[in-house]
Amino acid sequence: MNQPRSEDELRAAFTAKATEAPQADDVLRAVRREVYKPPARRRWLAPAVAAVVIAAIGVPLGIAVSHGNNTSEKKAGNAALNASGASSGSAAAGAGSAPRAESSADSVCRPGDVTVTVRRDAAGVATLTISSHGTACRLDRVPRVQWTDNGTALDAQPEAPAPGPSGSSDSSGSSSPSSPSAKAADQLGVLPAGSTATATLRWASACGQPAGDVVRIDWGAGTVEAHAGAESHRTCSQETNPVLRVSAFTGLS
């Protein structure tokens, strides 16, 4: 057992072991299967993994950021509401959907930049309030307003021509409808940052206030819908010529 061995014995042992080698064809088949495997799976795998990772990180992040913006806008809107005394019937269509960083005193206020409320009193007068969230922007001095009453949408007529930049309204009484298309520079007023502009909606009717509470307002950035609070009870069912008048905004510079 402890006898010394020779180098030839080692050579013989190695040579004998070599006969146990596997068939080259088997190995080559496995190699070819691996080498010529269609790369399609790998080609889409990396982008798919990247997309999943981006979605897993980006979506919650986007939601968190969006939620943060909405919360701050709501806080700003509530603060403006409290300051102006408005307490009901507020609506701000599209609030929070537009980035406010791009807004400036040169651009028309977007729905997300402001809070819109309509409040009506028992005397048939409603107050339209637009509060800035903190960035100055522009409004039509006389907004276009549409109020639905018993299924009929009635366009408001301006009480008076749009006032100048001083903010004072001309009360001469001419009542031409506001032009939706032409928008000269002097038709737009600046709503200062954090301030509030108000306009009055007067419903001249023998039957009392309109039955509906949906009011559509357009100050130059598209139609925004607001609710005027509790619906009123009309004293008569049909009326021939109800008239809704809207004043110019006060509070614009």
Binding site: N2, Q3, P4, R5, S6, E7, E9, L10, R11, A12, A13, F14, T15, A16, K17, A18, T19, E20, A21, P22, A24, D26, V27, L28, A30, V31, E34, V35
Partner: protein, 161 residues
């Protein structure tokens, strides 16, 4: 020489070398397969070499030397084959098996040096080139490996060492 030409003419020799080196048929198959997949990816460079087979053999050695790291979970299966040899060969076969079992116990580098020297017939200088070490280091590995296997050097080898 294309990859397919190499595989057709030289793969059997590489596989035999891998079996002797690893002393395990399954492991040899896996090692060679890994090496061939990598070699195929850059065969254009390998084909331009003077001895593509030597390069592939070196890749097999490197793969084997790193197998403890890469193949840590690999549990070699006992390669037991029914002994169909004649009774008069039984003693020689047992002695060969015992010798190979002792070779397997050697450190990997010592084992590699012995396989390259006694199976591949390489000189110490060639072995040093494959392993990337000095010739004296190769001789040291060989000396310690042979001593552990109780192999007496021939007189020529004694002089060389």
């Amino acid at each position: 020489m294309t990859f397919d030409e190499f595989a057709a003419t030289r793969l059997n020799a590489v596989l035999r070398f891998a079996v002797v080196l690893t002393n395990d048929r399954g492991l040899a198959e896996d090692v060679v397969q890994e090496v061939l997949i990598r070699a195929h990816q850059r065969w254009t460079q390998i084909a331009e070499m003077e001895h593509p087979e030597a390069y592939v053999r070196r890749m097999v050695v490197n793969e084997f030397l790193s197998w403890r790291r890469k193949w840590a979970r690999y549990v070699p299966q006992a390669d037991v084959e029914p002994d169909t040899r004649q009774p008069d060969h039984a003693e020689a076969h047992a002695e060969r098996s015992a010798l190979l079992a002792e070779v397997v116990k050697l450190p990997r580098r010592q084992r590699t040096v012995l396989v390259l020297r006694y199976y591949e017939g390489m000189s110490d200088a060639q072995i040093a080139d494959v392993l990337g070490c000095a010739e004296t280091t190769v001789r040291g590995y060989a000396f310690r490996g042979l001593a552990a296997l109780r192999i007496e050097l021939s007189s020529e080898m004694k002089e060389a060492t």
